[in-house]
């Protein structure tokens, strides 16, 4: 026997199931208990930086769109600061929450966020990361939330020095993390759970 470590284990995850909307976006499924669904507005006033739309669809291994997923994103403001009590480097844009939550469309599977292009956030060693948005996906058939990141295709020089992107062994998979510019201010980020274009998912 040894001394006891005063540590407890993380609660195991279980799937969000097909009815995640009832709990997380009840307004979306027609249950008007709350004033508004949390996370559906990221810009609460005039914001600093470039306003963008990020839209996409999640596909399963057969190429079928997921119409029952929930996507959450979290990101820095235009200066790379988070609107969070844990932010220690400065005060973030008060009109930008940084957090978005969107249910996939029940017919098409599309998700959309009205947000801003994030600034750069340091890696633990001080190097700057490329602009990115953190993503968390849950759905029926997903036992534990999937983590990935949205980077931007048009940030080539920042991407080339990003501490995470630069350490990915399979370089041909990096495009799965890049949102492409569809038109001015509109980026597409599709997510593939399986297949030749399987998105890189993180354990972070």
């Amino acid at each position: 026997m040894t001394q006891e470590l005063k540590r407890v284990r993380e609660t195991p995850s279980q799937t969000a199931g097909p009815y995640v909307h009832i709990g997380c976006t009840p307004g979306f499924t027609g249950i008007d208990v709350y004033e508004a669904d949390l996370g559906n507005v990221m810009k609460t006033g005039p914001v600093k930086g470039e306003e963008i739309t990020v839209t996409g669809t999640i596909f399963d291994g057969t190429g079928t769109a997921l119409t029952d997923a929930l996507v959450e994103i979290w990101q820095a403001d235009a200066d790379g600061l988070h609107n969070s009590p844990q932010e220690t480097r400065g005060i973030a844009d008060p009109n930008f929450t940084g957090w978005g939550r969107c249910a996939s469309d029940m017919t098409t599977g599309a998700f959309t966020f009205e947000t801003i292009k994030p600034g750069r956030v340091p890696y633990p060693d001080g190097r700057l990361q490329a602009p990115h948005i953190s993503v968390w996906i849950v759905a029926r058939g997903i036992n534990i939330g999937l983590q990935t990141r949205i980077y931007f295709e048009d940030e080539a020089s920042a991407n080339s020095e990003d501490p995470i992107l630069s350490r990915i062994e399979h370089r041909n998979r990096i495009p799965t993390l890049l949102a492409g510019r569809e038109k001015d201010g509109v980026y597409r980020f599709d997510i593939h759970l399986q297949g030749p274009n399987e998105t890189i998912f993180f354990d972070i």
């Binding site: 284990r9 993380e10 609660t11 009832i22 949390l38 009590p85 968390w136 399987e198 972070i204």
Partner: protein, 247 residues
Amino acid sequence: MAENDTGKAGGYLPRDRAWQPAALTPAYKTTVKRSPQAALLSFPTTLSEETGPVFGHGHLSEGDTDLIHNFAKDGESAIGPRIIVHGRVVDENARGVAGALVEIWQANAGGRYRHKKESYLAPLDPNFGGCGRTLTDAQGNYAFHTIMPGAYPWPNGPNDWRPAHIHFSVFGQAFAQRLITQLYFEGDPLIARCPIVGAITDPDAVSSLIAPLDMGRAIPMDSLAYKFDIVLRGRYQTFFENRPEGS
């Protein structure tokens, strides 16, 4: 970075992937085409994962914790055994997580969800919506008043039934802690038969999702109670600064 009783807070402890369910668990058939096949890419957390939004009481209202009444017509209430579900949200260092957003959803007493895509033949309860939410107090505690959800059949195997359960979504102080799970009830024989529960292989991990009956928190002549504590990822605790990579 915030000081605490055992040193400086570092990055978040990695998830124990042997304790957590795998992505691919074929007995739960939907995972077969929805599970990533490549290895996850492991990295230490950065500020992007170590931060998270703050949820103010302005977003929520008092009645959000009362599922018996939050959807019911005036003077009426949801049908089913009345229960209190309470517990504490802590991190892996066993410290309470204050201000965590806890959102729950569940079927009604007959096992039926109020959802456009739900087709189980059990009836809807006109006085039950099925959702609640709250913020934990300064010590990490939360409580809901609701009704016991029913078991329900689901299309997986030819005769699969979900044990009675309440879905929980928990948002602590950091995006790295984001968690969705399910509460099960002590003594339910369907727990051991459920392929979704079975996605978790460690019996101790399964036990940690089963809420015991808690007569100490029951209200006599009113409601039974069940206790469900939740553990979110914690941070490395260190007296030493992290050394920059390569130095």
